[in-house]
Structure formats: C-alpha cells, structure tokens
Symmetry: C2
C-alpha cells in the first residue's frame, strides 16, 4: 500500500471544490468566500497537505528562492552576514539557497549555474571579480543581483558594503598620528577585502612617511587564531623586534597576536600595540580589549536582502549602491600611556 503524496486535487475532491479554489485559499484567500475557505482549510488539515513548491514555481515562474554565495563557511564574518539575510528572507516567505565558493571564482561560476537552475528570484553574492561567464549568466538571468561586503567600481547591479581601503586607511592613520610609527602589517588569506585593507594601511603609512615593505607579512593560507600567532612571530623576526605595533587584517589574527604576546611576555600595549579589523565579540572582552574596526556585517545582510525584496516587487530603489559605513573602536590594546 503506497501512499502517494497529497496534492491540491486531493484536497479539492475532499472539500468538494475545484483545484483552483484550493490554490486561491492558499495564495489569495481574500478572493474566496468564508464558508468555502473553512471547508478547504479543514480538508487541508485532515489530509496534512503541503503544497509542492516545484509545481508552483514551474506554473507561476516564481520560485520563492533567493540564491546566496559566500566565499567561506569557516569565516564568522560571512556567517553574520548570512544571519542578516535569513532573518529578513524567511519572514518574507523566501527560502535561501546558499553555496560556499571556497574563495574560488571558478567554483563560484559553477555554483551560480547551479543556483540559477533553481530559478532564484534574486542573487546575493560576495564582492566582485567574478568571471566573465558568471557575469553573463547573472545579467541574462534578469533578476536583481546584489554584490555584498565591499563597494565596487563597477557593480553588476546593486552593491552593499563598505570601503575596506578607507576603513584601514582611517584606523592606521589614527594609530600613526597617536605615535605608533613602527606599525607592522599582518594578513592571511588575502582575499580582495584584505587586499584593500593592505592598500589602506600602505597609503596611511606612506602619507606619514613611515612605510616599510619588510614590515608587511602576508600569506594566502586561511586565516585563524593560530595563524595570527605565527605571522606575528614572523613579523617580530623580520623586523628584528623593531615594530612595536601591528595592524592585523582581521580580529582572529589580532587575537592570535595578543595570545602570542602574552606567551612572549610582551606587554600590550606597553611594548606592543595591536589593532584588529571587524570587531568580533571577543575583541572587546579580551585583556586588554582590542582596538578594531566595527563593520556592520549583520546589517549588510539585512540591507542587501531588503533591497532585493524591493527589487523583486518592482519597487524603485533610491540608490543601487549602499555604503554601510564602519566605526573605529579605539581600545586599550593601542592606548599606550607614554610613547
């Protein structure tokens, strides 16, 4: 005895109405009279009917799906963005189909293909630099697209993010201005955002006439707390202990650097100042609290999703590009009493 999945017409039969009426009860209840609505609802409950979204999507050309591509599930920054996306999309009746490109534009290309197969009504992808083929696919899909995280020169469609270059320039300038002229740079993964931050660091250091190429330590390897400790050690070695401050391209690295200082008995900030980027929860709670740049990750996800939802509805957008801004958080880790 095989139990076929319950369909619209099963419900219709039980409620003694036509299939389209059941469909209306679900999608446009205001167009159905009270008594009929009740009959249908009780039939739906009795049978435990669950509408088939594939059939619905096929017939209506609306999938109720938003496609999202992030570079990594291991990086908390993207998780918070995701949270923002889910928090808006779900209540609005949209499903999120997420894929992880592993920081590869080639994987990203095949993921865009796959996601487009689900006929998403909008796409949210991370940053720029997509392959030409990816761009073509996205353009010809004819759906709203948001590029998220960083402000780009030539967005495909919409763009939500911050200027990582400017943010890094700002915080580094402030550090230099307050006396930290022997400020090294430590970066891992070095994705486009990290590259922008490095540019900002460099410009700030050069403006002050204190840039030193050999104080820049980077690796393409994944970022982690352990990597922060490792790179910090390299910086100490390479600068022969000359650096007395370090700008880490993110808070994980900064945390690793701080832990390493503790192990080396290097007092922070007295002997070594540390600055991170992103302002994750731990940063403000460590000892000493870490200076960082607060980036509204969750809000970016929210904003991007709100924008695509509006675009799906065909509403006009005030602006296709939204700069979410950042906040510099100066904390004890860079507040040396005497220079």
């Amino acid at each position: 005895m095989i139990t076929r999945r319950v369909t619209l017409s099963d419900v219709a039969k039980l409620a003694c109405v036509s299939a389209i009426t059941v469909s209306r009860v679900i999608n446009q209840p205001e167009k159905v009279s009270g008594p009929v609505k009740e009959k249908v609802h009780s039939a739906i409950e009795k049978l435990g009917y669950i509408p088939n979204r594939s059939a619905s999507a096929l017939a209506s050309a609306r999938s109720g799906v938003i496609g999202v591509i992030i570079p990594s599930l291991s990086n908390n920054v993207f998780i918070e963005v995701l949270r923002g996306i889910y928090e808006i999309a779900g209540p609005a009746g949209y499903q999120v189909l997420m894929a992880d490109s592993h920081y590869s534009h080639l994987e990203e290309e095949s993921m865009v293909r796959t996601l487009l197969g689900q006929s998403p009504e909008a796409m949210i992808i991370t940053g720029g630099g997509q392959t030409e083929y990816t761009n073509n696919m996205l353009r010809s899909a004819g759906i709203p697209v948001v590029q998220l995280m960083e402000i780009l020169d030539e967005p495909i469609d919409m763009n939500v993010g911050i200027s990582h270059r400017q943010a890094a320039y700002d915080v580094v300038s402030r550090l230099v201005a307050s006396g930290y002229k022997k400020l090294g740079f430590v970066g891992a993964r070095m994705d486009p955002r990290a590259q922008q931050r490095l540019k900002g660091y460099r410009k700030a250091m050069e403006s002050a006439g204190v840039y030193r190429g050999d104080w820049v330590i980077t690796t393409p390897k994944p970022s982690s707390i352990a990597m922060g400790a490792e790179l910090f050690t390299s910086l100490m070695a390479k600068s022969a202990g000359e650096c007395n401050a370090v700008f880490c391209v993110n808070d994980d690295l900064a945390m690793g650097a701080l832990f390493e200082c503790q192990r080396m008995q290097l007092a922070v900030p007295e002997s070594m100042a540390i600055c991170g980027f992103n302002d994750t929860e731990a940063s403000a709670l460590m000892n000493p609290p870490l200076t960082s740049v607060n980036v509204p990750r969750y809000d970016m996800g929210v904003k991007a999703t709100e924008m695509v939802l509006r675009a799906i509805k065909g509403e006009a957008l005030d602006n296709k590009v939204v700069d979410c801004g950042y906040q510099i958080k100066i904390r004890e880790s860079t507040q040396r009493a005497i220079y």
Copy 2:
C-alpha cells in the same frame, strides 16, 4: 524585446533533435551516441542553457535537495556541522536548504512544513523533542531523516551524535578525581544538550559526594563570551568565593570566565580552574590553554550527510545510530601544581 529563458526544446530545436534526447545528454549521456552528444553540447553552450530544476523535480520526483534545520546561526557549533553537511552534499549533486529554528520547536514545525514543500529527498534536523505534528510530517514524508548532535532514546529514523551527559560526566569525574571538589557549574541557553551536560555534571559530583545545588548557575539567555563573565561573577558571589573551579557548559562561557578571572586578578589555574566544552579553536590557544571536551562537529555533519545519501540510494545501513564519540582535552587551565 523580452528574452524568454532558454529551455530544453530551444536546445533541441537548435541541435535538430528531440527534447528528450537533450535531457538524456544531460542525465544519461551514456545512452546517447557521440556525434549527437556533441551537437547537443554545442547547442547548450551557444544558448547558455541552464536546466530548470523545478520542472525536473516535478517530472522526476527527485528534487536534489536536502533539508537542514539547525537551532541557531549564531552558535559556531552548528556552523561547523553545517560545513560538514555542505562539504558532502555539494559534490554529490545535492543542494542544501537550511533553516534556523531559533531553538523553538514551534518555529521548527513551520520550517519543516516549508522545507517539505520543496520535496527534499532527506532531512537533517537537530536533536529530539520535536512536536508531535513535526514527527508526523517527517514520518509521512517517507524520506530519510537524521537527528543530529545528540544520541536520542527514540529517534524518528537515523541518529548521529554523542552523549553529552556521558561526556560531561567523564570530564567532571576526572576533574573531581584530580582534586577539584569545589567545582561550580555555569550554563547559558540550556538547550537539550546543555541540560544533558548539566545532568552529567550533577551525577559526577553526586557520585563523589561533593554536589552543591547552589553552585549551579544557569540562564535561558543566549550564550556568549560576555555571558560567561557575567555568570562566573554570579557563581563567585553565590558561592561566596568558595568555588575554586568551574565547569562551563561551552567554550564561549569558559572564555568569558577566563577573561573575568584575568580582570579580577584570579590566577588560572592556581586560584581558579576552568573547563569548557566543545573545544573550539581559541580554547587551545588562550593563556592558559583551556581544558575542554572535543566534539567532532564537522565529522557529525559529514557522517549524517553520508548516511542520508546512502539511504536515498536505497543502500543498506549497518547502523541507524552512530555515536561519534568525544575526546577530553586536559590543558593548563585545570592543571594546578599543588592542591
């Protein structure tokens, strides 16, 4: 000029074959001759054809989707499980449709409904305690279901996890045996896993005859590093400073407790021993490194996904319940030189 989405028959027309042949080239290429295959492939490329999954799902009754429900996107533990799921599902040609139940079995119910609407071929959900209605929906969906994270008494179908009670019992027993008899408990969120850990703690303490109800501090509020500091402070107050060790229900709390000790100038482990749970990256790298219980989160996700994939294929499973085990990591934070 409206550009309709490219369909199978567009490709078929261009390649001068029938639609079903194009379908075969995509899904069962071994059943199509070489020359025809080439013709079709070039037509696909020329048109930039992307198959419509909704239509495919409808016609074939295979959606290529796995539904996943986790309680929270804010908790890293579940993110690592997710990583394991995505890492296996993607390459196997499955899309993951994820939903966040916010630790609510009622939200979970509506999310199961929503996900089932996508005709997933399998479902992976967190833990037990689902509503009766949820259980019914899952059962009558007739698809493989894995309950993940903890070993349950009466799983719906398959079950992958660890015994949180046993793990907590083990580590607490070891701490007590090595002299920490004034061991408090600190817990936040108190979801079913946390409850189990509390039970394990209690049993271990009672077995040793050192259990004290007033040394158990919990809150239903979300867990965080800041909350760890707060609860630790409460414990100190409530135990009038008598406790000289604390078992935190997770590593975030343990981290917060350690930071608070540093602020209070309480030497760890000399004056206060700290033990966490989960063994997240930071734990091993802090100063001092934190004792914790390593839980194979990523592997759980991998294992669960491998199991549902096998079940989808109709392959026999050796076992419907898999205990992934755990590892106790004793580190400096609980290694007092002299008791």
